[in-house]
């Protein structure tokens, strides 16, 4: 230690030290405070539109959201009539989404099982992982085009029915299910698998009875969140399922209405030109319906999210 660090001249007595220890650099302090304010402001700024959105959807939608609205379709409703509801759209949304889930969950879950339990760095597993990434990024409208193209090939162009929509939605849903399931399966400690295998339980039963059972809560949550994500998809359904005003229970024939498309449709129809002497005509009836349907959709999505999280919470002790 020849050329040593020479600390700055010792401050004589405690007065100078006190000064050193009191805030010395106003500029740095200002920067710090400024950034703190900016970061908090960014947060507040971002909350404004989101609060506004939530508030408007609730306040504008609540007026029309009643039993009548939920239990009636748009059949025979025209102009500014104070009538019409979303029953047909709810039926369509539930059926189409349910079928999408029925397609996606087995494929997604099995793929996740393959990736976690069997893949183990094989080229195929790596390819699949990569493709799942790619699939996650498919724009929803492209998924719609794909489903359309697929069924145009099978049934000739112009086919529009609910199941095509289910296929389009499952293209969007499968990667979400794979991702969340994969994450959950990887959380299962390896010791559990080994313990089971060491006791002579075959691999597939180990997966079924140990791995899946341990992670069932997380898997359920993942599926719920995936459903919540696709249930609000509009564009693919607009292309593949179309619009209709009456109730259609048949997923395999004829157009169906769905909630998100209903919202768009009502919005696109806009204001109704009412003649002055027609007191029963409501000029903004379409907009009112759009808000009410949007609120319904909003509530469904929030409910699915909530249930999804609660499932994890209720069953949480079973994981680990």
């Amino acid at each position: 230690m020849t050329t040593t660090t020479a600390p700055k001249p010792a401050p004589e007595g405690s007065a100078s030290l006190r000064e050193l220890l009191q805030t010395n650099d106003a500029k740095r302090r200002r920067t710090d405070v400024t950034m703190r304010v900016l970061i908090t402001a960014a947060f507040v700024l971002a909350m404004l539109p989101l609060l506004s959105l939530t508030y408007t959807v609730v306040s504008q939608g609540i007026g029309r959201l009643d039993g009548y609205f939920l239990m009636n379709s748009m059949r025979g409703v025209f102009g500014g009539m104070d009538a019409g509801g979303i029953y047909h759209a709810i039926v369509g949304t539930l059926q189409i989404t349910l079928f999408a889930a029925l397609i996606s969950v087995p494929i997604g879950l099995l793929t996740a099982i393959y990736l976690v339990e069997y893949g183990g760095g094989k080229p195929l597993a790596k390819t699949v992982t990569f493709l799942v990434d790619v699939m996650t990024g498919i724009p929803s409208i492209v998924a719609g085009l794909f489903a359309y193209a697929l069924f145009a090939l099978l049934l000739g162009p112009g086919a529009k029915f609910g199941f095509i929509g289910s296929v389009a939605l499952s293209v969007l849903m499968i990667p979400v299910v794979i991702r969340s399931s994969e994450e959950m399966l990887r959380l299962v400690p390896n010791e559990l698998r080994e313990a089971s295998l060491a006791l002579g339980v075959p691999r597939w039963l180990t997966i079924l009875k140990v791995v899946l059972r341990t992670s069932v809560a997380g898997l359920t949550t993942g599926v719920m969140l995936a459903i919540a994500r696709v249930i609000g998809e509009t564009a693919p359904l607009l292309l593949t399922v179309g619009v209709i005003d009456s109730i259609n229970f048949n997923l395999f024939e004829g157009r169906m209405m769905t909630l998100p498309v209903y919202v768009y449709r009502q919005y696109a129809q806009g204001l109704v030109p009412c003649s002055a002497d027609d007191a029963a005509c409501i000029p903004d009836i379409n907009i009112q319906r759009a808000w009410a349907a949007a609120l319904t959709l909003f509530l469904i999505v929030m409910l699915l999210n909530l249930i999804g999280r609660l499932v994890t919470r209720w069953f949480a002790p079973k994981i680990r």
């Binding site: 230690m1 050329t3 040593t4 020479a6 700055k8 010792a10 220890l21 009191q22 010395n24 740095r28």
Partner: protein, 259 residues
């Protein structure tokens, strides 16, 4: 530069939990003071209150005074950021900034205050600090390479260089050798011996031989049981502590009967 630290009636809390109770001690300037004691006895916690680093943990607070040359670090006018400039710290595991080069790591602290330092001034300071940390000869040819490429012991000395580049009054070391091999440990101990001519050094260590080798004074902390606060049992000259401690607990610990 090196200054005396007086601690009076210090209590440390995490939320409502009292972690350390009633510490009174004086830390002499230009010397090495070692803190020893079993795990969880609060010696590291106490060390962190000497430069207000404990405040980083939410809910941590302190009662009592820590005075450097008579100035209470916890006075209302005192800026914790300024305190940490005057009281530097070296951590258990070496933690150079991975995205910075060796030279940038050394200058990291100084750049905060004095951004308009000229290039040559910066180079001088880098050399000075690295020499101060006995690292210059090993790294002078690769100052612009990332600090994470060094060995553990070198990284730790880089962290010491980084701490002394700011020219603090006091240097706190929280088990600086616990993640290092014996050779690197020896290098750090040599360095501590050199640094004490200019700095007040406080070192927490689990290794009693290390405390005996490097320190002038040793403080023994102990804890009565889980949920109880840690306490300072005794502090004395290192030689006295290791030959004829006043307290039975100290003797038990030093002779290896527990802990």
């Amino acid at each position: 530069m090196a200054q005396r630290i007086d601690v009076k009636d210090l209590n440390i809390f995490y939320g409502s939990f009292k972690a350390v109770a009633d510490v009174n001690m004086t830390i002499e300037p230009r010397s090495v003071t070692a803190f020893i004691g079993p795990s969880g006895c609060g010696k590291s916690t106490f060390l962190r209150t000497l430069n207000r680093m404990h405040e980083v943990i939410p809910g941590a607070r302190v009662e009592g005074t820590v005075a450097v040359e008579g100035v209470d670090l916890y006075g209302s006018e005192i800026d914790p950021v300024a305190v940490r400039r005057q009281v530097g710290m070296v951590f258990q595991r070496p933690n150079p900034f991975p995205t910075m080069s060796i030279a940038e790591n050394v200058l990291a602290g100084i750049r905060l205050n004095n951004r308009k330092m000229s290039k040559s001034e910066g180079q001088d300071l880098v050399e000075q600090s690295l020499r101060g940390a006995n690292l210059w000869n090993e790294v002078k040819d690769r100052l612009d390479r990332p600090g994470s490429g060094l060995s553990g012991g070198q990284q730790q000395r880089l962290c010491i260089a980084r701490a002394i580049a700011v020219k603090p009054q006091v240097l706190l070391m929280d088990e600086p050798c616990s993640a290092l091999d014996p050779i690197s440990t020896l290098a750090i101990e040599d360095l501590i011996a050199e640094l004490k001519s200019q700095y007040t050094i406080v070192i927490v260590t689990h290794n009693m031989q290390q405390a005996a080798r490097v320190s002038e004074k040793t403080a023994f902390f102990n804890i009565a049981g889980t949920g109880q606060p840690g306490r300072l049992i005794e502090i004395d000259d290192t030689a006295t502590m290791f030959s004829s401690p006043k307290e039975q607990a100290t003797e038990d610990y030093i002779s290896g009967r527990f802990g």
